[in-house]
Amino acid sequence: MEIHKYEKAWLVGALVLIFFFIGTIAYVSAVVGVDMVDDSGGALDVDEVSEDERFADPRVEQVGEDEYEVYMIAQQFIFRPGTHDTVDVPENSEVTFYVTSIDVIHGFQLVGTNVNTMVIPGQVAEITVEFDEPGEHGIICNEYCGDAHADMEGLLVVHPEDEWEEMQGGDG
């Protein structure tokens, strides 16, 4: 087959570009380490979510010195916790979210960030985030889930350390 010399150069260039893309992504995933949503959260039976010890009482739980876990249920059209009460964590913490749905497919995203996952009934999405700075993040459902989908939002508050300690003191 006859290939023009510019054509050949272009072909080689295209292949180099493709390998470059694959290479950078492999490097970033394997070496730098990017937390992907995968099957690590496990599967569960939709009808038995309320009997699962993580989701029977959706909550924020401290599991290590600066480590927290959030067990969250997404349902038409709220996040529990998140919508009616904020999700509270301290700054300089590592927070792992476990999110599942009890009805249709939802999304879970901290607005404008790469903290983003699908929430599929029967599956638990696991996603770990480091919060280094205090501030507020909107939580939205970014997958259509029914009539009032646009109302499905919540708030996550990352508290400054002193404020956090006061809050803990107040509780105890």
Partner: protein
């Protein structure tokens, strides 16, 4: 001068019917698009507040009408034209042809009825009917069974259409035993083989899961399984929309530019690459899905990157062929040749502008395809920003442009409303530049897609520059220009369609241009193995098995008919 309609009156009629249906859905979809633009930005809301349900009725119709019915009706029309013209031969079995066009029409009608019933949520005789499930119809949200049945009829109809074209080619081959497959025929056949392989996913999803489930014959389906079946089909379909546009870019655009296709062999390589690579990439739509191990996502990502290759090759060949045409017309200089192109002729300018937008779309697509960055933009407004450049312009504008050139051949009437047609592609281009740019930027701010009212109570977006109000304004302006462009398209097409065959001066009518010159480097330079369709299908199946066997086994181990019960889209909202 006998043109297509004189030589093949039956086939011309089939193409006209397919085009008429296609454009009907284009028009309805365009109206829906404008309603969405106005509602999301808050400029004008026809339906107030909590009954956001109506917005999703519109959005479902916009998605299904445009990317299923508009695109695929056009495809079956243009492929029928291509096969007939390329092989210089009738389809040969009118009964079969009538069957598939009827099946597709009835299917489209049933699905449309189910969707549009969403405005009132009921139909006489059927009671409650709604299908506000968007074009992805993810379970466990369930549509009325009519919605799925219509899609099944539509898709099986398209399978029979493919069979019709294959039969025509088999007949031709018998009469021409030693000849190479002509190029347009080669494109049609490889595209249909890709379609057969890829639609298996959605066919299994609809026939074995969603239909029995919406009828209550099975009580549960596995949402991750049906979703994965959908995306087995869902990326391939992107190329199904694109292949007829590629066919136009390869065969017709260079000719309109005054030249001819550069390389026939390379065009074949490109279509073969699409056939073997376009299915085993579907999981790249599920990078953010829980329940799918990271390794499978990585395989899909790697395949996706290789899928850039045929598009990059196309860019080269098409630009080179168009440049060759421009130089034939006397174009000179490094970039000066660009000025020698027929920019005033809408069939050319539409395809060329579509190609330019496709390059921009390809760029935002490369960003989507990277796994890491995908996390930022997944399900944000960035995504419709991206595909309004690809399917919404590269495909849609090419189809409109091709119509300016094809319709005279199909009706025997010269193009009317020529001035409107000449402006139309430019309006589309400018409108889409506004709308898509603002969608991309909005997505980076975190504005989600598929939402009637992306204005929230608990937080505000934080733009680095500009403001949300400015983005909204751009979207509304862009949408308005797009609708105006559609109006011009319809004006010209309808005028042509219902115009008279005889030109104004009472003469014999203009000569209708329907010549397609052969490629500079013809099929004799293409290795024979390229025409070995069985081999390529075999390789395609192998790659599909490698990419999908383990994910399906893994997901099915959670249960095939276990998971979620049917949740109808109509729900009482409790607040």
């Amino acid at each position: 001068m006998a043109t297509f309609v004189d030589r093949f009156p039956f086939e011309a009629k089939v193409v006209r019917v397919a085009f008429a249906l296609s454009f009907l859905f284009l028009g309805l979809g365009g109206i829906g698009g404008m309603i969405q633009v106005l509602h999301r930005t808050g400029y004008l809301r026809f339906v107030e507040e909590i009954t956001g349900g109506t917005y999703y009725t519109v959005l479902t119709s916009h998605g299904v009408f445009l990317v299923v019915f508009f695109t695929i009706f056009f495809l079956v029309g243009v492929f029928t034209w291509a096969i007939t013209k390329d092989l210089d031969r009738e389809l040969g079995n009118p009964g079969l042809t009538k069957y598939w066009i009827t099946s597709m029409t009835v299917g489209a009608l049933l699905t449309s009825i189910a969707i549009l019933a969403g405005f009132t949520n009921e139909l006489p005789a059927l009671g409650e009917v709604s299908a506000d499930v968007l074009f992805t119809f993810y379970s466990p949200m369930g549509a009325h069974v009519l919605f799925y049945l219509g899609l099944a009829l539509f898709v099986t109809g398209s399978w029979v259409a493919g069979f019709d074209w294959f039969k025509t080619w088999w007949g031709w081959k018998k009469d021409n035993p030693d000849k190479r497959i002509p190029l347009m025929t080669f494109m049609v056949l490889t595209t249909m083989l890709m379609w057969y392989l890829g639609t298996l996913g959605v066919a299994v999803e609809v026939v074995f899961f969603l239909i029995p489930w919406s009828l209550g014959l099975v009580s549960e389906v596995n949402p991750l399984l049906t979703r994965t079946l959908f995306w087995f089909f869902g990326h391939m379909v992107v190329y199904f929309w694109l292949m007829p546009a590629y066919m136009m870019w390869y065969k017709i655009m260079p000719k309109l530019a005054g030249g001819r296709l550069f390389s026939d062999p390379l065009a074949r390589v490109v279509f073969v690459l699409f056939l073997i690579l376009s299915v085993p990439v579907g999981i790249h739509h599920q990078y953010l899905d829980p329940g799918i191990p990271e390794g499978f996502k990585f395989v899909a990502m790697t395949n996706t990157m290789f899928l850039l290759l045929p598009s990059l090759l196309t860019a080269f060949t098409v630009v080179a062929s168009v440049e060759h045409g421009a130089r034939q017309r006397g174009g000179k200089g490094y970039f000066g040749w660009l000025r020698a192109l027929p920019w005033g002729r809408p069939a050319f300018s539409g395809m060329a502008l579509a190609g330019i937008m496709f390059a921009a779309g390809g760029f935002s697509g490369m960003i989507n395809a990277g796994m890491n960055i995908n996390y930022l933009v997944h399900n944000s407004f960035w995504v419709p920003g991206h595909f309004h450049l690809t399917v919404g312009t590269a495909v849609a504008l090419t189809f409109m442009a091709a119509t300016y050139w094809l319709l005279p051949q199909l009706t025997g009437k010269p193009l009317a409303g020529v001035k409107a047609a000449a402006v139309q592609p430019y309006l589309w281009f400018i409108g889409m530049t506004f709308m898509s740019n603002a969608m991309h930027r909005g997505g980076l701010l975190g504005i989600p897609r598929r939402t009637s009212e992306p204005q929230y109570e608990q937080f505000d977006y934080e733009p680095v520059f500009g403001s949300v109000a400015e983005l909204d304004f751009q979207i509304v302006i862009g949408g308005a220009l797009l609708v105006a462009s559609l109006a011009l398209f319809f004006y010209s097409i309808i005028l042509t369609w219902f115009g008279s065959k005889v030109s104004a001066d009472g003469g014999e009518g203009e000569v209708i241009d329907d010549e397609i010159p052969p490629a500079l480097s013809g099929p004799e330079n293409a290795p024979r193995v390229l025409d070995n369709l069985k081999l390529w299908v075999g390789i395609a199946i192998l790659l599909i098995v490698l990419a999908y066997a383990l994910p399906f086994a893994d997901i099915a181990s959670d249960g095939i008919y276990e998971g979620s019960e049917y949740i109808p889209v109509m729900i009482e909202v409790l607040t």
